[in-house]
């Protein structure tokens, strides 16, 4: 029914590489892969949200190349995103029919809407809800079901479900599975993405596995055990040796404690996480996207306010979690955030101004509270040299730099501020190989200087090469820790999936 032919998408790197697949009507086709394997990119191309760089698609034998979600919808291809798009200020019924509100001359036909909404809602086990209640009154799971319902009440040919059960309780999931069986009987081709391998095994007629953007193969139900799936997702050919010999091992790790986290809790993404980080240690945090890694860092840094737990920085007494980043920075924590464009940099400002930013509250830089432009420029020039930031001058605005150089500016800014603990969220995301090596070197030098470093990364190989030990976040919990230097990637990957299995 839907046929992909050598579909390819290039971003900075190749995200999807020559994937050819066929989806048959009445079948559930699961798409699996570790972080960054290209699952979502592939789905977005099918749903018309992004356009492929190369390759083509056929739908019912006809050429299919949607350039918007609207077009994909009218061709009968629907996607249910993982992120919730429910509008809290509208009623359930209005959310269901948003793209097509029943009306006569622009005036809502509330009675029709009510009746049809009741039918659809009870179909999804939400029959006890009032269709005229506001969507804000629903729990997360109910919102997720509502979102699925809103995208599926119209007849579709191809339905893409991206992590539909992530927010659902067991009962709600069961309800969804019943619906999936019904759609199968109606001849819908279903593309199913999930972290929950047991669920996939039970539902999927066929399983395709992606790794580094390439299709590893397609199997029928029962051909693969869970451990086979995981080993297909990991890359045995690539060497799992340390990224560079100078990066290992770490003699600087001391017994001195840099950061201790006790029972940190930020509902619902971080649940009672405890660990400790020693001075000079590089501790990696592995986990699937959405497992609570970023939320953990943000909670430690006070960017989001934790609901409970305690923190202990260096040898200071244990304290409550920080209420804001200012407290965290003053206690000696710095954080390199995941999205440098959104919250890491002032894009329209100069390199010098960006590096100076965290220093503005320090005395010495400003005399009579005036910032000193010349001093800031000197500082920036030193960093441009040390970190090989490619730029015309330190006055160049950061937005005009390449991703790798931007990331170096972020590093420079926090290196200048300095701290006892460095929290790094995806420090090498979207940057080139040379910049990546430099980031590793900086991290390594920080460790040598006795800092504690917590690195979150989606790239397991990176963590294995870089870290003295690796902790795994799965479904909001810190499930296991591994210590280096000899890691078993498959064991780590299994641990990453572990939290999603039914108890």
């Amino acid at each position: 029914m839907l046929k992909l032919d050598a579909l390819t998408k290039d971003f900075a790197t190749r995200a999807v590489d020559q994937v050819s697949l066929e989806f048959a009507p009445g079948q559930v086709h699961a798409l699996l892969g570790a972080n960054g394997a290209g699952k979502s990119t592939l789905c977005k191309m099918i749903a018309g949200l992004i356009q492929p760089s190369q390759g083509s698609m056929l739908l019912d034998g006809k050429k299919y190349s949607p350039d918007s979600k609207r077009q994909a919808q009218s061709a009968g291809v629907q996607i249910v995103h993982q992120e919730l798009n429910v509008l809290a200020t509208l009623t359930l019924a209005e959310n269901l029919f948003l793209s097509n509100l029943p009306n006569r001359w622009g005036i809502l036909s509330r009675r029709t809407m009510h009746r049809r909404a009741c039918e659809i809602l009870s179909d999804f086990g939400l029959g006890d809800l009032d269709p005229h209640a506001l969507a804000s009154s629903l729990g997360v799971g109910q919102q997720q079901l509502l979102e699925i319902a809103a995208n599926t009440w119209q007849p579709t040919q191809v339905l893409i479900l991206d992590e539909p059960t992530a927010a659902l309780s067991n009962r709600e999931s069961q309800r969804l599975f019943e619906k999936i069986h019904l759609w199968k009987h109606q001849g819908v081709a279903i593309l199913y993405i999930s972290h929950r391998l047991a669920e996939v095994q039970a539902l999927a007629d066929r399983i395709s596995i992606l790794r580094d953007g390439k299709l590893q193969g397609t199997w029928s139900r029962g051909e693969l055990q869970e451990c086979d799936i995981v080993s297909q997702m990991t890359n045995p050919s690539k060497s799992m040796a340390p990224i560079s010999s100078t990066l290992r091992p770490s003699p600087a790790v001391s017994t001195r404690q840099a950061l201790r986290v006790e029972q940190l809790w930020l509902s619902p993404k971080v649940q009672e996480v405890s660990f400790s980080l020693r001075a000079g240690e590089i501790l990696g945090v592995a986990g699937l996207v959405g497992s609570g890694r970023t939320e953990l860092l943000r909670a430690i840094f006070g960017a989001d306010r934790a609901s409970g737990g305690s923190l202990q920085v260096a040898d200071k007494p244990a304290c409550k979690p920080f209420r804001n980043p200012n407290e965290a920075v003053r206690s000696g924590l710095v954080m390199i955030s995941e999205d440098r464009k959104a919250d890491g940099l002032l894009l329209t400002e100069s390199i010098a101004a960006n590096i100076q930013l965290p220093m503005l509250d320090r005395t010495g830089l400003g005399r009579f509270a005036l910032t000193q432009a010349r001093q800031a420029r000197c500082l920036a020039e030193t960093y441009c040299r040390d970190l090989a930031i490619r730029c015309d001058s330190s006055n160049q605005s950061v937005g005009t730099l390449s991703g790798g150089n931007q990331q170096k500016v972020v590093l420079a800014k926090w290196l200048e501020r300095d701290g006892a603990v460095f929290l790094m969220d995806e420090p090498t995301r979207g940057i080139d190989v040379a910049a990546r090596e430099l980031v590793y070197e900086v991290i390594r030098n920080l460790a040598k200087a006795g800092k504690g470093i917590l690195v979150v990364s989606s790239d397991l190989e990176e963590l294995i090469g870089l870290c003295d030990s690796i902790g795994v976040m799965s479904n909001g919990r810190w499930t296991t820790s591994f210590s280096g230097p000899n890691y078993e990637p498959q064991a780590i990957l299994e641990a990453m999936f572990a939290g999603y299995s039914p108890p």
Binding site: Q73, T89, I107, L108, R110
Partner: protein
């Protein structure tokens, strides 16, 4: 309205929660001025007050619709003046009949509003900037077509603002009240109204649902502009003149009324009826303070304080509701 299940299913408590706070505030103000100002709680004062608010009420209704959809319209005061001057020109210079001239004035206002909506929505330029530009353009045009002179339009508009004998309120007031009801109806019972709330809540989600947002935004701004034209008529009728200086600063009074009524400047939340209560709060304050002998500076200081206080209370109430 039987099929209006939103309100008919709503228990009384919820209606009270929605309107209660503002009603109490209005009663407290009335009581306060009733005790301390002589002649405040008299039919004459109250009717005078009622007949002085139609123009700001109508403006504030339009503003509410735009704010709910996540926009803002700073040009309402200027567009009011432009429409009024255009009305004067049509009536005095072209000698058009009243109904045709009124239609022209409202249409001109709607065009200005529609242009605001189209530019800000289709080209993704912040509405603040687009409407700030329109504020200048409309004001300049108003001076231009009147040669910066106030123009006497005579008594042909008088019936609009003269009190109707048995009621004591003017036709303007009745029309403004009808506009409030129509605005609330539009918000709850029409596709446009629901889309306004949806876009104001999360425009990206609406786009992801495969809906184009330009058309509804243009319509909302055009309604707002058309209401400016109507307000311009009401003001001209009350003053028997058209004045290119009229309506200056009214955009801020209109926003103030919306905000006191609990409309969120971030979009997605608000109610036309509550905006009307916001207008009442401001107008009671102004009239009452004047009767107490307060000077204009004092009136402005107190009004400013009340705006901040009302939003503060609203935000505290919402926070406690979450906990």
């Amino acid at each position: 309205m039987k099929d209006n299940a939103v309100s008919s299913n709503r228990p009384i408590q919820q209606t009270l929660a929605t309107y209660g706070g503002l009603l109490v505030a209005i009663l407290v103000l009335l009581g306060f001025f009733g005790v301390f100002a002589k002649n405040f709680l008299t039919t004459t004062t109250l009717l005078t007050m009622a007949n002085s608010i139609p123009d700001i009420t109508v403006l504030a209704v339009g503003m509410t619709l735009v704010l709910i959809a996540g926009g803002i319209d700073l040009s309402v005061g200027s567009v009011l003046a432009l429409s009024a001057c255009f009305l004067g020109w049509l009536m005095v210079d072209l000698k058009l009949p009243l109904w045709l001239a009124s239609l022209g004035a409202i249409a001109l206002g709607a065009c200005c509003g529609g242009l605001n909506g189209w530019i800000s929505s289709a080209f993704r330029i912040p509405a603040f900037i687009v409407t700030l530009g329109m504020l200048e353009i409309a004001r300049g045009s108003a001076y231009w077509i009147t040669d910066s002179n106030t123009k006497y339009v005579g008594s042909s508009l008088g019936w609009f603002s003269d009190p109707i004998a048995p009621l004591g309120v003017s036709a303007s007031f009745l029309i403004a009240a009808a506009v409030v009801l129509a605005g609330q109806w539009l918000l709850h019972q029409t596709v446009l109204g629901r889309l306004a709330i949806a876009i104001g809540t999360n425009a990206e989600s609406v786009r992801m649902a495969g809906i184009r947002t330009t058309a509804p935004m243009v319509t909302l701004y055009a309604i707002c502009g058309g209401l400016c034209g109507l307000a311009g008529m009401m003001q001209s009728a009350r003053l028997s003149t058209v004045d290119p200086n009229s309506g200056a600063g009214m955009e801020l009074s209109a926003i103030a009324a919306c905000v006191i009524g609990g409309t969120s400047l971030r979009g997605g939340q608000g109610s036309v009826v509550r905006t009307f209560f916001g207008v009442l709060v401001i107008s009671i304050l102004q009239t009452g303070l004047a009767q107490l002998g307060a000077t204009d500076p004092i009136k402005r200081i107190v009004t400013g304080g009340v705006i901040i206080l009302s939003v503060l209370l609203d935000s505290l109430r919402k926070q406690s509701a979450i906990r």
